[in-house]
């Protein structure tokens, strides 16, 4: 409220009018789609909408039904296993690759290009390639067997108990390049003097990494983790392409549950409840991070 509308001054609303007009798409998107759409979905998750959204509230019924559904429980378990492992492995592989790349190596650009190209490919392509590589009849399993190790068994896509690891391998192939790039950028941001000091003190390299460099890169790690985590919750196309949720329901994920209930089973209420649970999951991850990142220090964007 800075402008106390002096007489003769143009109307507050008309000030900066062009800028406001230019921002209409952003305002509409933010308010109608992002805010309105989210509230709408959350509200309708408390109704018993079937084929069409209806406003007849049934309390938490949809959520009770959701958590009683084996398929949803399997989805959540898969998401947990996949999520935790993919965070750990992405960070470890990404950091190790970045550390190797940071040794003033030759052909750095070539290596970067190789590590990162899968990231340009879609999850559908990724899923289909790994479906083929993990094909039990022709893929890696059969090749290893033909080399003489005839009892070798590596058949994740047709073994319910380990199918999610098959998805994980594909996801890591696709995404670790990005993590490597982010980590490399973080490593390059470390002052050269730190390394010199460590060398003067005779600290071995791995110790410098573990106790000096990694703690210094905390912000990079956190940001990377948030990026990985918000990608994990959304995982959908990869599973659709690689396993279609199978065998049985062994590799179902929440995002697929939502889609199937909204657009195929025509049970909108379930879909809304499931998507609201996804929102809650993301909020659990993002809100603490946003608080740490923007709450304390103010204005860093």
């Amino acid at each position: 409220m800075t402008g106390h509308a002096k007489a003769g001054r143009p109307n507050q609303f008309l000030r900066n009018l062009n800028s406001k007009i230019a921002s209409i798409p952003m305002i509409l998107t933010a308010v109608v789609i992002f805010l309105g759409g989210t509230i709408w979905t959350v509200v309708y998750s408390f109704t018993n909408s079937k084929l069409l959204p209806r406003l007849s509230f049934v309390g938490l019924d949809q959520y009770h039904r959701l958590w009683a559904a084996p398929r949803w429980v399997v989805s959540i378990e898969n998401l947990a296993v996949y999520g935790i492992l993919s965070m750990i492995f992405s960070l470890v592989i990404g950091f190790v690759l970045a550390a190797l790349m940071d040794q003033k190596i030759r052909f750095e650009n070539t290596f970067r290009t190789i590590f990162l190209y899968p990231f340009a490919l879609s999850f559908i392509v990724t899923g289909l390639v790994w479906q083929w590589l993990l094909n039990p009849e022709f893929g890696i399993q059969s090749v290893v067997r033909s080399l003489g190790w005839t009892t070798f068994a590596f058949d994740p896509l047709y073994t319910p108990s380990i199918v999610i690891y098959g998805v994980l391998i594909a996801a890591l192939w696709q995404g670790t390049g990005l993590v490597m790039c982010l980590m490399l950028a973080g490593l390059r941001g470390i002052d050269e003097d730190i390394w010199k000091a460590a060398r003067v003190d005779g600290i071995p390299m791995w110790k410098t990494y573990l106790f000096v460099v990694i703690p210094m890169m905390r912000p990079v790690f956190i940001t990377t983790l948030v990026i990985i985590a918000s990608g994990i919750v959304k995982v959908y196309d990869l599973v659709v392409a690689q396993t279609s949720g199978g065998p049985g329901i062994a590799s179902e994920v929440p995002a697929k549950y939502v889609y199937d209930y909204m657009f195929q089973a025509q049970n909108l209420g379930q879909g809304f409840a499931a998507s609201t649970m996804m929102l809650v999951t993301v909020a659990i991850v993002v809100i603490p991070w946003a608080y740490l990142e923007f709450g304390g220090g103010r204005k860093r964007v």
Binding site: P25, T29, I33, P118
Partner: protein
Amino acid sequence: MSDTITLKNANGGAASTDKTLSGPSGRKPRRVISGRNIMLYGTLFVAAAYYLLPLYVMIVTSLKGMPEIRLGNIFSPPLEITFEPWVKAWATACTGLNCDGLSRGFWNSVRITVPSTILSIAIASVNGYALANWRFKGADFFFSILIIGAFIPYQVMIYPIVIVLREIGIYGTLSGLILVHSIFGMPILTLLFRNYFASLPVELFKAARIDGAGFWQIFLRIMLPMSLPIFVVAMILQITGIWNDFLFGVVFTRPEYYPMTVQLNNIVNSVQGVKEYNVNMAATILTGLVPLIVYFVSGRLFVRGIAAGAVKG
């Protein structure tokens, strides 16, 4: 770029001649083949092989005939190179709904990606410019919602959007999908442009205002010509992102408008008939080709794009 390098080299050369005159100094030259280097490059080469393997297998498989695939292993190079799988994948492979191959999906994807990229960048660049230079009261509030919205799972917003599109009468059409891509591209692109415009010297903007230029004039005459690199980065981000999209394509279009990724998935995962792995792999490469070309051509800009998109997200 090349100038500075030659300059550096020239300096270095001069310095080294000085050094030779004043006796040995500086670090002892390292041996190229040391245990450390073998470990280092060994690990890197193994990792590189792992990343390249799927691409290699894709290409090799797509060039073999089906009998050879049934006999041999997936890593062996083709004995007899055939391009038939590629032709079939492009023109006649069946999805269960139609037998047009990927060509139909390819053209749909082109018709989706080109307008979506242009529209989303147009909207976001103007938005970012307004946020950076013409901030009005409340602008930051809407911008914050926009950025937070980038973290909301799409599944939460899909159905409301279906209703909105249905009300406007473009649900199931290409224009509907283009609009959706523009909406979901907005957070990241607006952030990208806002940060870029904010980093330009503000004197430039002030000078233009004193000379009497308005909102659009400054944008078109001063900001646009100065921001070509960021537009390229945004284009890379959008082209690959939209081309690779699957979920929106499935949800917001009718089967005749399905993008290439959806068409590909339907071809490969259709249950009817004998699985033709070579055709599937040819189709997979074809679908991945556009983003791969963008990636290899753009090089460092791609890295910059994803870093800008990711780190600030």
